[in-house]
Symmetry: C2
Subunit: 388 residues, 2 copies
């Protein structure tokens, strides 16, 4: 990886570019470098979620130290607090939050629709009830009118206003504005939604190209679990000059459905663009989809698990609150070299969680994110050796 | 301070010792060095409170980096969670919590009585109602029988069991077991309490000397706001071979009463022992009492203020949630060199507090504790220059 590291350094501070360093001979898995104005991302990469510009329980300098190459922030939340103008006035999100490495923002659509349709995870897996029915006031060809969860004021988000907001935020990578239909959507409605999403994404792109910055813009593939629509979406969006392709919407109610859909879809993705899988970041899914050529994954799963006291290890999750850890005077993972495992024992972390000390959340999060970065580095090495 | 720093290093890892480095010519203020098995403490020093062995929102390596020389942990809380045996089995509290610098524990009495008499601050200032009346079941000559706040089980704390617990914890400095009578206590009762406290402290000392470790033991002066009793307490406890003197109990309902009492009391304290003022740590009180010869102060005030978004600066407190900070793109305190002020702006901290991000609590706490250590260093320099 020495060559890659050198290249990583040289390419810092340049415009968006994607380069495949190595294509595995064993699968579609590849090692690549995404260059951005705030540095390079070696792929495959795990993308940590910092909804408000902050990964929960961590400050952004620690996040850099952990080696999180790309951080995901949510435009919807940033629109409402602190407001995109405040971020713009700070000189952009990197300066505002004190992170000097790449950042990606979504379009805001995901949150709007997930609030309307209930918990995203539930809905994507078809378990959801329609909650917050009144948060989305109206969906028209123009865009979505919704209510702020904070003060109830109506906000209109359109492809143009989403991209404008993302330009004010100033992340390295933006995502086109899309609609997120629920898992249980009839084909006719799904097709209508898909066509509108394509029009919205085209408008996002047009607005972006007319107001060019050194930011990149990713398309989002839709079509739910309907293969015909997925193919259509891939065909349409691949032709447009997006910088990368994200896979969004419902991709199945379980890992098997997801796997089947992605096996069908992945070979159609344009090879020369980075492939991002939205909202997926558990280890089994990564292992299943990296060989299909997925390059980046964002998920709040590792950080959420950490705050619930589940620490990742190569031998499965360590439930820190389990009584046997009360007197476990070894590091949470003796084979781990993270800040937490270097400095503290499982017994102390157990105590922190029992005593409801915030420091426990921080230390567990540091561990799980380090686990993810280490895991991805091993994955990259295996691809370089054609073992994946 | 170069000589002191050298001495600080040389004296690491030795037994308890107190040495006065400089006595101001202008007041009773002095610069000293308390040597402990886990390193030296330059005095006057602010002692941060880490009730459960953890300063809220910080991990202990950061606390070391901030330069907190001495950390206060509460025996009462540690007895209940994780239990002193768990700490002993870890090799003592330093190993258990991952702190390699000096630690002091209290006797447990303070928490028991403050739970019985209501909020400590309220009661000491005579504002309290008697809450948790049933938490103390019985006070006898032997000790205090109380209920665990966690599971209701009865726990008997005596001078001997308190010191035994503190020896299992293994802090560098222990505190003798005492009774904490409320502010509003009639003289006769106060005298009875004082006499019993003296007997308890003597028993604490006897038990300590019979089971000698390399830990130090401080006495606690009592007598409430009755000067006669305070003098009596000082006279009695000064003669016993305690390693230091703490001033405990109610010292007045406001800073003026405290100041008057301490002006009376401080000149009677044995000069060759360190003087600790329990539970006081606000800047005005430090400024008033350091010239009287107080060496160390423990208080949760700076960390509690931090978590409420009040950041200390030389020009007073900065209320981070104030709307003007939403677009304050300077560090919270431009003259401060702490981790928080070096890396983040007031606007970002404002955002973190508005968005209820834990990282805000951590960053504010780092700032306030750095403020305290910097402030105390300046105080020591002023004493060395006979300016205090």
């Amino acid at each position: 990886m020495e060559i890659i590291k050198q290249e990583k350094k040289q390419n810092d501070k340049q415009k968006f570019k994607f380069k495949i360093v190595h294509q595995s001979t064993k699968s579609k898995a590849r090692v690549g470098i995404i260059s951005t104005p705030h540095g390079n991302i070696l792929t495959p990469a795990f993308v940590a979620v910092g909804t408000t510009g902050t990964i929960k329980a961590l400050d952004n300098k620690i996040v850099e130290e952990i080696g999180i190459q790309l951080m995901f922030a949510n435009t919807y939340h940033l629109l409402i607090q602190p407001g995109t103008q405040t971020i713009k006035n700070a000189g952009g999100i990197h300066k505002f939050i004190g992170r000097n490495r790449p950042i990606i923002t979504d379009s805001g659509g995901f949150q709007i629709f997930s609030l309307a349709y209930g918990s995203v995870a539930q809905e994507l897996k078809s378990k959801g009830q329609k909650n917050y029915k009144n948060s989305v006031i109206k969906i028209t060809e123009d865009g979505v009118l919704f209510r702020s969860y904070r003060d109830g004021r109506p906000i209109l988000l359109t492809p143009e206003s989403s991209i404008a907001a993302q330009k004010e935020i100033g992340a390295d990578i933006m995502i086109a504005f899309d609609e997120l239909p629920p898992y249980h959507t009839k084909d006719q409605q799904l097709k209508q939604s898909l066509d509108r999403t394509h029009r919205w994404e085209k408008r996002s792109l047009d607005f972006h190209l007319k107001n060019k910055t050194n930011q990149a813009l990713y398309a989002v593939l839709h079509g739910g679990i309907n293969k015909k629509y997925r193919k259509l979406s891939c065909k349409y969006l691949s032709k447009l000059p997006f910088d990368g392709i994200a896979i969004g919407g419902s991709i199945g109610k379980n890992r098997d459905e997801m796997s089947e859909l992605l096996k069908f879809l992945a070979p159609m993705l344009p090879e020369d663009k980075p492939h991002h899988l939205l909202g997926i970041g558990d280890i089994p899914s990564l292992i299943q989809t990296i060989p299909l050529g997925i390059d980046t994954f964002d998920s709040a799963h590792p950080t959420k698990c950490a705050r619930h006291g589940l620490l990742f290890t190569k031998h499965g999750g360590l439930k820190i609150l389990h009584s046997k850890n009360a007197t476990n005077y070894s590091p949470p993972d003796p084979s781990c070299n993270c800040y937490t495992c270097r400095n503290y024992t499982a017994a102390y972390l157990h105590h922190l969680f029992k005593a409801h000390e915030i420091a426990g959340l921080t230390l567990a999060t540091i561990h799980n994110l380090t686990f993810m970065t280490t895991f991805m580095e091993e994955i990259r090495n295996k691809i370089l050796e054609n073992k994946i």
